[in-house]
């Protein structure tokens, strides 16, 4: 089974919609699982717009080759989070990856077979929005390793929920188990007066979960401290336990842990 032989659980983070927080959830889930003592790998298959290297402040690092393939980038001293992303293979950070499907598919296959992850409790796969080349290739290449399932991210408004409905169909058609739906950017509490405004509406993700009979994993509010810490590549889970997004993120990680134990 090659390089994925010692990976316990593979999780995919999916959404039909762009910018709903797939990379954010992937990053925070990895950090939260790390804090419970797990070893986590992140595979970033967003080839045109990789976000995770910056979110973990490793955007200037390189990957190296070893006998069994690529050595992923380790995020911390004790090597509890490792990451593979196309961001590490570009000469200049602003280089556009102008690739059609077949080239993307070839790299994804390589990402899945040739990264020397070693022993991992979780491998989290962050994806671009949609149901196209990256998704089909990733699911096909991972099939022999029996992925544990997928987490679907949406924002509350109908425009986003509609795209995630289609993503659910994708999961059904490809036989990928849906672990649950997360409603992200759900409500914003004004730091000045504590008034809550539903900037992107409210409740759409929860309703979709109910309607489609899929577990609902929780609402993550809009939290400027979360955006800020992702901008600076800081460990939100460790540094902002009192912030508004923390309880939801911690509970999502706990539900994933409960589901796998």
């Amino acid at each position: 089974r090659g390089n994925l032989a010692r990976v316990q659980h593979i999780l995919l983070v999916l959404s039909g919609k762009g910018g709903v927080g797939k990379s954010t959830i992937s990053t925070e889930l990895a950090l939260a699982l790390r804090h419970t003592g797990k070893k986590v790998g992140i595979l970033d298959v967003d080839l045109c717009g990789p976000s995770i290297p910056r979110m973990l402040k490793v955007q200037d690092r390189d990957v190296h080759q070893c006998d069994s393939g690529w050595v992923p980038v380790f995020v911390d001293q004790d090597k509890s989070i490792s990451l593979m992303s196309i961001g590490f293979l570009l000469e200049k950070p602003d280089d556009a990856v102008v690739w059609r499907g077949p080239k993307k598919n070839a790299l994804i296959k390589q990402f899945i077979s040739d990264v020397a992850w070693g022993e991992l409790d979780f491998l989290i796969v962050d994806t671009p929005p949609g149901t196209s080349d990256e998704h089909i290739s990733t699911v096909e290449a991972l099939r022999p390793y029996k992925p544990f399932g997928a987490v679907l991210v949406t924002t509350p408004q109908a425009v986003s929920v509609g795209d995630v409905r289609r993503e659910l169909t994708f999961c059904k058609k490809t036989g990928l188990r849906v672990l649950g739906i997360i409603e992200n950017m759900s409500g914003f509490v004004c730091p000045h007066c504590l008034e809550c405004t539903n900037i992107f509406s409210k409740g759409g993700g929860e309703e979709l979960a109910k309607h489609s009979g899929v577990p609902f994993l929780g609402c993550v509010p809009l939290d400027p401290q979360l955006t800020q810490s992702l901008e600076e590549g800081r460990d939100f889970i460790q540094e902002f336990p009192k912030s508004s997004a923390f309880p939801a993120l911690a509970s999502i990680a706990q539900q994933i842990l409960d589901g796998t134990s």
């Binding site: 039909g16 717009g49 102008v98 059609r100 949609g130 080349d133 289609r166 058609k173 004004c190 400027p224």
Partner: protein
Amino acid sequence: MAEVPGDCPGTSSAQAGSATACQGCPNQRLCASGAAAGPDPAIEEIKEKMKSVKHKILVLSGKGGVGKSTFSAHLAHGLAEDETKQIALLDVDICGPSIPKMMGLEGEQVHQSGSGWSPVYVEDNLGVMSVGFLLSSPDDAVIWRGPKKNGMIKQFLRDVDWGEIDYLIVDTPPGTSDEHLSIVQYLSAAHIDGAVIITTPQEVSLQDVRKEISFCHKVKLPIIGVVENMSGFICPKCKNESQIFPPTTGGAEKMCQNLNVPLLGKVPLDPQIGKSCDKGQSFLSEVPNSPATASYRNIIQRIQDYFGLHHSQEEKII
């Protein structure tokens, strides 16, 4: 359109006609002969078709969810307020089409006419085309690889009965891949006037938008300008501003200075924008007095000025 195999390597690839997926494809011999690698004859057909379209604008962003579709929809509404102008809105986001919902056309179907597909009309002077009009249920997923998406885009450009159009606005998915290359290639002979690039203020978004700007340079697509969306939120209760997506590296303003591209304006976060989109109504007419409407109108004016200016330059050259 002949059915393209799921794993089609693409007609211009080195494996065209010889990949495993090519077995049994009706075009295998054509591809293997190398004949298909030349310029697609559709490019010339599209050029003919596009003779009745005065201006073509692409709305692009490297980043997802920054408001491309929202902007495309409102640019269309704004331009269509001039009843003497004919506007077309084409959605080439094949896997995640948002335009039908935002334009209040969900559940509509395209009609086949003698001269091709007819767009769906919001008003007499505003026609829309999207893959959403070809799906039978809101749960239908379009699970297509590149070549099939490209085939669809070709059909949208060549086989839709657009009629006489002043502005064709094209909404795109995020990224720099099949859809983007295809729309640029298929319109290469017909000429695209330029791209409007949408971003949000934070670096996680800007880093992808810089890639999109590199893409524009690579394919020689002029940049009309950049719109910074979701910049700042004014609390409706206490009127204090919060930077929900903080411009930690100077926002679009700094990026535009560094890359020497025009900044067309900034649109604040306004919960009414999302509501209008969900209801399929124009925010510009629903909430006419808001700061966000004012900045949308400003930006639309600047885009019109761009065309006025370039148009008169063209006339001078002639």
